[in-house]
């Protein structure tokens, strides 16, 4: 019944709807360029890597390339990449969350929030080569902070085992664009926390920390985790910053892929393709979890 009714209503609509032939090829010709572009420049490259990952040097089907992912040097590349991504996702996520919390729920002047949002937009987009330069000038061997620590606090970072061009240095550098990104993605969720919930829990005699633990945190948790996963993916796929900071001398998956493009450093093209596909798989899993968590958080935080 109802479908018949809408059919009649649709037909009763005024002339313009009837004018273009709403069926057939004319409808598709508008969206065709978009799909053609995606097919050529996203789907085709990905599929080309995927099929090549299953071929050996003679063009025969093989699974050996994926077995090659478990070689110690490749495993360690994945391990370092995952550790850096995890450290910057959690570290950047926490700092970003606390800052976003400060300007949304904490009692700070409105101007601080506006300023922070502008800054986050800029800083989350400031990455790659110039970011590497900035951190060399800050925490490199003759960087300002390194020298300050040496002269004022008598701490020599590099004697303590710190090195800008290794794990911790790269983590600190990535943090520069990670926590601003967290601020940008978590602020809408924090805005969704209703005042009524806090008032209600206060009326029921809850302390502030109790409200945080029992009300705010459970509601925010999916958003926080989801945003951190976004940050994880963000540094997992990063190449430019790491390459220009370390000159390619750090064993990250992206760096290995980069060297593989320049010349077959793995002495096995198939392994390079498998490496790239492994990366896509990790990112897809991350995005799937992200969407699942976002669904969860939307239940409470619909605006």
């Amino acid at each position: 019944m109802s479908s018949k009714q809408t059919f009649i209503q649709n037909n009763k609509r005024d002339a313009p709807r009837a004018r273009p032939s709403s069926s057939g090829w004319r409808n598709w010709i508008v969206v065709a360029p978009f799909f053609l572009f995606t097919l050529l420049f996203i789907v085709l490259p990905s599929f080309s890597l995927l099929t090549r990952a299953f071929l050996d040097n003679n063009g025969k089907f093989t699974l050996l390339n994926f077995a090659g992912l478990f070689e110690p040097s490749i495993l360690s590349a994945y391990w370092v990449t995952i550790r850096i991504s995890l450290a910057t996702a959690v570290g950047g996520g926490l700092l970003g969350f606390l800052m976003a919390y400060a300007v949304t729920v904490g009692n700070l002047p409105r101007a601080v929030r506006t300023g922070l949002m502008t800054f986050s937009g800029v800083a989350s987009n400031f990455a790659g080569v110039p970011l590497a330069f900035a951190f060399i000038a800050t925490l490199g061997r003759t960087g300002l902070v390194t020298l300050l620590l040496k002269s004022v606090l008598k701490i020599n970072l590099y004697d303590q085992g710190f090195n800008l061009y290794s794990f911790w240095g790269l983590t600190l550098t990535y943090m520069f664009f990670q926590f601003p990104l967290m601020i940008l993605v978590i602020t809408p969720a924090l805005d969704g926390l209703k005042k009524e919930w806090r008032e209600a829990s206060e009326n029921l005699g809850a302390s502030h920390s109790m409200y945080l633990r029992k009300v705010a945190l459970p509601i925010l948790l999916p958003s926080i985790l989801g945003s951190m996963i976004l940050l994880f993916g963000n540094s997992f796929g990063a190449y430019a910053t790491a390459y220009s900071l370390t000159g390619g001398f750090i064993n990250l998956v992206t760096i290995v892929i980069g060297s593989q493009i320049k010349g077959d450093i793995l002495y096995n093209p198939g392994l390079g393709y498998a490496l790239a596909i492994g990366m896509v798989v990790v990112m897809s899993v991350m995005m799937a979890i992200y969407y699942f968590l976002r669904r969860k958080s939307e239940r409470w935080l619909r605006q």
């Binding site: 313009p16 508008v30 969206v31 420049f41 919390y101 800054f119 989350s124 430019a240 790239a276 990112m283």
Partner: protein, 265 residues
């Protein structure tokens, strides 16, 4: 002052220090090109370098083409799935999220493998590599261009505008270019500036396709052999990013939704 706002201020101050210290250090460093005195010598050298201007011009032109192509691809598609093909919406949204899943380094790997050989041979000519570069950047920009345009479309009554234009006798190109585009100018401008900010210093894709012709790889080259100039380049590049993001704020009137996730990291 309440105890809670002391904590709030503390986190803000820590974050701001994290932000300002590297920039201050870089700026300080960039002024030390002349021994013993602070000077803008490093900046002067950068500005006197013809390669600085040619690479920045090259990257700007590539960015402008990227913006034109991505707007021409996304706006009609987003408009049409709102108006006529709502069942395609899920698919288009999914596609626009794909660049998150395929990192830039993997994308350029695939692009080179597909288009360097038969039947395309795009990397054999300069023009071919430029086409590939623009295509790669359009892919990178896709998530935020689509989201921005789609939010823009949600704010206007697409159906009524179209019907009104049709009853006045407008044909489809007229509707899209003279009715829909002007109504989306905020969305278009902000995604354009975000694209500019991402593309201008992009390194990953550019370094494999065109090398030091573009600004990102040029900066990287300077970084390998000129210490002070590289710091001044970092400051200049930061100013450029700041300027573009400032423009977005201006267009959006403070409603900042400006996160380029698939950017040039």
């Amino acid at each position: 002052m309440k105890r809670r706002s002391i904590w709030s201020w503390l986190w803000i101050v820590i974050g701001m220090l994290y932000f300002i210290l590297p920039l201050y250090s870089t700026f300080d460093f960039s002024l030390r090109a002349k021994k013993g005195v602070l000077s803008f010598l490093a900046y002067q050298r950068v500005f006197e370098d013809p390669n600085f201007w040619s690479t920045i011009k090259f990257s700007l032109v590539i960015a402008i083409f990227t913006i034109i192509v991505s707007i021409l691809l996304v706006v009609p598609t987003a408009y049409w799935i709102r108006l006529r093909l709502p069942k395609l919406r899920v698919l288009v949204e999914f596609i626009s999220m794909l660049p998150f899943v395929v990192p830039a380094i993997v994308l350029v790997f695939g692009l080179i493998r597909v288009f360097s050989g038969a039947p395309f041979f795009l990397t054999n000519t300069y023009f071919g590599t430029y086409v590939l570069l623009v295509a790669g950047y359009v892919v990178l920009a896709l998530p935020f261009v689509f989201r921005s345009v789609d939010t823009g479309l949600a704010a206007i009554d697409v159906q009524s505008l179209t019907e009104a234009a049709q009853s006045l006798g407008a044909n489809w190109p007229t509707i899209i270019f003279k009715v829909i585009f002007p109504n989306l100018r905020v969305a278009i401008m902000s995604s354009a500036f975000l694209t500019l900010a991402t593309v201008i210093g992009e390194y990953t894709i550019a370094s494999f396709l065109v090398g030091i012709k573009s600004f990102g790889p040029y900066m990287s080259l300077i970084g390998q052999n000129k210490t002070y100039e590289s710091s001044s380049l970092a400051i200049i590049s930061f100013m450029i990013t700041w300027a573009f993001m400032g423009m977005i704020q201006l267009f959006n009137r403070g409603k900042a939704d400006t996160s380029a996730l698939a950017g040039a990291r």
